[in-house]
């Protein structure tokens, strides 16, 4: 309580002095400045949007597999709510477009990024570095408020006349500006809000990690998760503002009639558009992907960080090549700023530029492989505990590996000509984000749940959830590689059925073989099954709060990092004693130590071998 009071004074420029009483419901749960509560707020909101984004793609998958047939169960409901765009329960093209655009937007900006960065980062990072809270608690609250406002606005856009944005999550101009719906305007305004939110969050994270590390917590003693968050925060800080600029410019195009992204001679609906012209559609793509590519690493780095913590903990073994990983993640962060145009090989920007971005793209795979290899080697010789978080963390490695390696053909301009904008691309980045990042998120939820609630989630249902998700994730995305290589375009309203079996003997043009179209049905079935196996997780998540197995101590996993050295759940101000760090983050199975883990804040033991070496190293300096 005292920490919050002090914290409020620090950032409250108006000098309110009203927090000396026990906080009421609103202050404790809604307008909280405590990093743990804000983390949970972020977590709940973004998990809900994750589910909602999944619902959107579920409807679309039905349309792809069974074009023109009414969507079962929810079709009628959608018609009642949204009207003619879902006439007779059948998804119309406009609805398909807006669901597609919103699936991407929601999943990236409102579900996964806030989940891995804001939710886990907020909850875990200050605990891990031994800080009482974030550096600027009120700013932290403001960050969530902006995020929430942006989410509400984005969600509202479904229900306005004309519906939500329809130009894909990338919102390429002039398409985005020409579609006659205000959904795009709302999309832009809520993006500006979301960007503002992540900007405030990023400033807060970096300042916290630099300033609030506990005494003795040197840079090379930071858990890798903190490093991952640190680099991620820099990506958000520096890559998001250009998209904010681009959003403002497209908003000007939309509202003030400018032509930033609208070329001269633009025809809309068969008539010349009434604009001044002279703009550059390519400019939008540059500004968008300048964010868009670092954003990929924003999605993946925190997940790698979480997996790293969980692997070390459950292999009971230090991470192999910790320092290499730290330097690797820094290089990765830097390089991610100079690869963006590999999304734009087909825009005609020229061979020289393509070659440059092709080169940097190949270089960036080196640090990525370093990270993954270190994690794999960390398992060598460990005594692995196969609990649910570990299963998800282990599955993350090959899944992210597949996602990463299938990216190489897309990074080469030459092979990208065939694969661009096909289902191959979809499969590639979903392997990175869905069985990759989201498995990392699941691992994190199962792992840190006992810290936040004092109880474990059910192991049996956890394993059901894991095996179901693992199986169906692959069943959904694996066939898409084949479809993409066969040439099925990613934005087809009917999943390519129109072009099935088409062959022109005169020109020699043949369409996609029927068997690849037929795969759509299997994928859709797998997607529905994937939805069903999430039910045990959702029930497990809520029911375990009351009924889960009690965590017998504050450190039930036998972990070394500082978040487990606090009371459970951690109170305001986090630590009930002064915290001091004496050792690195992964001292598992240290020879001569009492237990198979030595917490970071454990003072040196004169008998232990490792402690002797460290003391000798320090005294020789």
């Amino acid at each position: 309580m005292q920490a919050t009071t002090k914290a409020d004074e620090i950032v409250d420029a108006h000098g309110h002095d009203e927090h000396h009483h026990e906080p009421g419901f609103w202050q404790k749960y809604i307008f909280s400045t405590d990093h743990k509560m804000i983390g949970i707020q972020y977590g709940v909101t973004s998990l809900l949007f994750l589910l909602f984004g999944f619902f959107l793609i579920g409807c679309m998958r039905w349309q792809i597999a069974y074009p023109g047939q009414p969507i079962p169960v929810v079709g009628g409901l959608l018609e009642t709510i949204l009207g003619d765009v879902c006439k007779g329960g059948v998804m119309q093209p406009e609805l398909y477009n807006s669901f597609g655009a919103m699936h991407g937007t929601i999943m990236v900006f409102m579900a996964v990024v806030p989940l891995v960065f804001a939710a886990f980062g907020n909850y875990v990072v200050p605990l891990m570095i031994g800080a009482p809270d974030m550096c600027f608690p009120r700013l932290n609250m403001a960050s969530f408020d902006f995020f929430f406002l942006g989410c509400v606005l984005m969600f509202t856009s479904f229900f306005i006349p004309g519906g939500a944005a329809q130009a894909g999550w990338t919102s390429y101009s002039p398409l985005a500006t020409s579609i006659p719906t205000d959904g795009q305007t709302l999309w832009l305004i809520s993006m500006v809000l979301l960007i503002t939110s992540s900007l405030l969050g990023a400033v807060n994270f970096i300042a916290t990690i630099i300033q609030l590390r506990a005494p003795g917590m040197t840079w090379m003693r930071l858990p890798f998760f903190v490093w991952a968050q640190f680099v991620t925060a820099f990506l958000l800080l520096l890559a998001f503002p250009p998209l904010e600029t681009a959003g403002l410019m497209q908003l000007m195009d939309k509202v003030a009639g400018t032509s930033f992204f609208l070329p001269s001679g633009l025809m809309v609906g068969g008539a010349p558009a009434d604009i001044s012209g002279g703009g550059s559609p390519l400019l939008w793509q540059h500004l968008f992907w300048f964010l868009g590519h670092p954003e990929v690493y924003v999605l993946i780095l925190p997940a790698i960080g979480m997996v790293c913590e969980i692997l070390a903990n459950n292999a009971r073994k230090p991470i192999y090549g910790y320092k290499t990983m730290v330097y690797g993640v820094m290089v990765l962060g830097f390089l991610s700023f100079i690869v963006w145009a590999h999304h734009m090989y087909l825009t005609g920007m020229g061979n020289t530029i393509s070659s440059f971005f092709q080169t940097t793209t190949m270089i960036i795979s080196i640090p990525s492989v370093i990270l993954l290899t270190c994690l794999f080697i960390s398992l060598w010789g460990g005594s692995i505990r196969f609990n649910t978080p570990m299963m998800f963390a282990l599955a993350f490695l090959p899944m992210f590996g597949i996602g990463g390696l299938t990216g190489l053909p897309l990074g080469f301009a030459y092979s990208d000509i065939q694969l661009h904008d096909t289902y191959y691309v979809i499969a590639h980045f979903h392997y990175v984000v869905a069985p990759g990042t989201i498995f990392g998120v699941f691992a994190g939820i199962y792992y840190w749940y006992p810290k936040a609630t004092g109880r474990f989630m059910n192991e049996f249902w956890g394993k059901v959830h894991f095996w179901g998700s693992f199986l169906f994730m692959n069943a959904v995305f694996q066939p898409m590689f084949a479809q993409g290589m066969a040439g099925i375009h990613r934005r087809m309203y009917d999943g390519g059925a129109t072009y099935a079996g088409f062959a022109d003997p005169e020109t020699g043009v043949v369409s996609v073989p029927l068997k690849f179209i037929e795969m759509n049905k299997g994928i859709t079935l797998a997607a529905f099954m994937l939805g069903i196996v999430q039910i045990p997780f959702i029930l497990n998540f809520f029911l375990s709060m009351k009924n889960g197995k009690k965590a017998e101590s504050d450190n039930p996993w036998g972990s070394t990092t500082l978040e487990w050295q606090t009371p459970t759940p951690p109170p305001h101000g986090n630590f009930d004693k002064e915290i001091r760090v004496y050792r690195g983050p992964y001292e598992y199975s240290v020879p001569g130590a009492d237990a198979d883990f030595t917490p970071q804040n454990e003072p040196r033991n004169p008998d232990a071998q490792a402690d002797k070496q460290e003391a000798a190293a320090e005294s020789s300096k």
Binding site: L237, L238, S276, G278
Partner: protein, 296 residues
Amino acid sequence: MEIPFTTKPRPDTGLYNAKIGIWLFLASEVMLFGALFSAYIMLRIGAPEGTWPLPGKMLMTFPGAFNTAVLIISSVTVVLAWASLKFGNFAQYKKFQAVTIACAGIFMCVKAYEYHDKFTHYSIVKKDGSLWDGHLVEKNDEFVILEIHGGHDEAHEGGHDAHPHEADGHGAGHQAVVQPAAYLTIKGSKDAVVNVDPKTGEHAHGEVRFEQSEILKMVNYGPWHSSYLAIYFTLTGLHALHVCGGALVIFMIWGPLSKMWETDRERYINRVEVSGLFWHFVDLVWIFLFPLLYLL
């Protein structure tokens, strides 16, 4: 536990929390404006020949230069104000910071004058294909009256350097400044001279009356007019928002929140320093904006 280093610097970084926060924030601001500057470059490179106004042809240089001086002065006073506090001279701080706030006000007034000038400046294409350009005097359902400033008004003669072939015959200063694509689509208007009556061939002066029925297209020099004005309004508008925000924060610390000088001096000085850092950034952006928009 309480949050450490809110006022005192952390020994190994040498900074207090808010100072790190503001530097990080400024880094992101650099990227925000950086993207707009890049957009400026791309739009200018991509602009068809003769459609980008040459220096001094679209904006009046003097108000811009004046505003540059105003912001530089405010940058100096904001430092002097902070230094006064460091020496414990609160009264002097109050004076210097008042000058800073006043400078922000002057800057915004000049900016408003410049904006007003652009928004009342109209181009008209008549149905006979002639092109007219002047400041609005009166407008209603029946007619429009424009004040036309003769052929030597600086702001009206841009673009002729890029069209040397047009400069013969009709004399420099009669060409349209910027030819937005909207005009190019109108047959014959591309090479048309401005403010010349096609029947008599005489150059118009003073107030000219146009019937609404004979106007084909009428557009003022707002952001919708051309790429140059679009980026001009976006850049200066965003900058003006920053000026307002910065001035508001400085004012709040200077006025309503100045009680803190008595209760927590060190923190008060930190606040003045942090707001001053932001103010310098706002000034710095203008130092780039002025040559880019007015002189290059």
